[in-house]
Amino acid sequence: MNGRGGRTIKVDTLARVEGEGALYIKMAGERVADVKLRIYEPPRLFEAFLRGRHFSEAPDITARICGICPIAYQMSAVHAIERALGIKIAPEVRLLRRLFYCGEWIESHALHVYMLHAPDFLGYPDVIEMAKDHRAVVEKALRLKKIGNRIVHLLGGREIHPISAAVGGFHKAPAKSQLRELVSDLEWALEASLETVRWTSTLEFPHFEQDYEFVALRHPDEYPYNEGRLVSNRGLDIDAAEYEDRFVEFHVKHSNALQSVLRGRGSYLVGPLARFNLNFDKLPEVAQKAALEVNLKPPVKNLFRSIVVRAVELVFACAEALRVIKEYEPPAAPRVPAPDRRGVGQAITEAPRGILYHRYAIDENGLIVTAKIIPPTSQNQKRIEDDLREYAAQLVAWPLDEATWKCEQAVRCYDPCISCATHFLKVVVERE
């Protein structure tokens, strides 16, 4: 099976199977008869895996759920467990956790904006073809992503690491000098992000506006990461502890992931558009200005413009990282003690793709009795189907392959998660 002999070897795929998805749309004449999105969702398995483990293991276990957003899983886990145990973290730790999240957002948004989403707008099948004509653009994406990765790596990330997030804080706090080393890179990243806003705003967007219920965290003083009330543009305003009273998950036959709806209201949208629309006033001036300069104002109701919103969030993440590094003083102790105690705690944090809910019940020995994890992509799943029902109807007259490609693009606007939801998206559009 050696490639040197000149024989053609057909390999269907080099396995990078982290999650699988498929989209099925059935058209009956002018009408969209059926839309089914099938996604694979690992969190169920991890919920079972967490039961009986000590709470201190949760940050490491949950970080393995997603290859792209491990920090989000760690953050929702530590905040929910800290709430169950009734412990308060130091303000310096709180700042560090914001920096940690900045790193993940920079990595994830740079990847999505440039490598996964931009080819759709520029008319390339993928980033490889795009790179042949737009090499500098792809190089910029790689450098941005690397800078996000530097932050994540410094503060822990997925590997076993001396610093790493822990219940109560971090295993070890970084020195001021370690953070300062990131400044020049981040200053470049901030400029590159501002250029990204201008560049993405010049792309052409399909006319597709929907009347969404946007759901995101909202904090009195800051653009949300780890704290805040869960709010919507239709009056939702709750604490994380009330989440399961207001949102309900249900099984649909065509997907092994659960779909989530707002009780009595239906589908809703989480992610960059929701955060931007509900928290524009909390963005730092540099990000607000960048948005307004390209005429991006809340409410943004066109999902395809999420690429510009992600670029604005890149500006925010770089500016916020620089602010945190400037203000950072190492905490007196890297973490507060977290003694075993019976309790239940819930937390919601803003993963790059939207809100990530965790709930843990812990017994008197610190062992996890139950764990509940609701990732952003399963929350958006129903909304994606609802969008496609509308969007596919606009495409009935299009050739099948073009209509298929357009529907894929619509799904990509949601940045469905690489491993907490879908990886290979095989699309089938059927006509009667």
Partner: protein, 144 residues
């Protein structure tokens, strides 16, 4: 020589590349673990000119079969046409070539997998494939 083992530990046989890297390390041979995501791979091999990548593969071969490809002359891998995030080793090589960031010597070891269920164990055949690659690479590393 830079050895990069790619994969996902949570997906059965997809752990093959990671297992190779870990076993080489246990033998005192430097090897890195990498998710296999495009930009991570390109960053990981930047500056290296002699690189070996190990990953799980799905083709028509029996489970555990070991493939070796020259990264400069990689066969055409069918990439899933409608992939949202389907960027892996094959795409990393193509992208690196477009960006002129391909190492001058790159070998890809593929270990044929059959079971990628979430949370499942590595198949016994793939275990044997992992062992074979570990033996071959450790011999090569010792020759250097």
């Amino acid at each position: 020589m830079l050895i990069l083992g790619c994969g996902n530990r949570q997906r059965g046989d997809d752990a093959a590349g990671i297992l190779v890297a870990e076993r080489l390390r246990a033998l005192g041979i430097a090897a890195e673990v990498c998710s296999g995501e495009v930009s991570d791979l390109i960053e990981a091999w930047t500056g290296a000119d002699d690189v070996i990548v190990i990953d799980a593969v799905v083709s028509a071969a029996p489970a555990g079969a070991v493939h070796v490809w020259d990264g400069q002359r990689l066969p055409t891998f069918a990439t899933s046409a409608g992939s949202t995030h389907g960027l892996g080793v094959a795409q990393a090589i193509k992208l690196a070539r477009a960006l002129n960031r391909l190492p001058s010597r790159l070998l890809v070891y593929g270990i044929e997998g059959k079971n990628f269920e979430m949370g499942s164990e590595v198949s016994p055949e793939v275990e044997r494939g992992v062992e074979e690659v570990v033996q071959r690479l450790s011999r090569e590393a010792r020759r250097e």
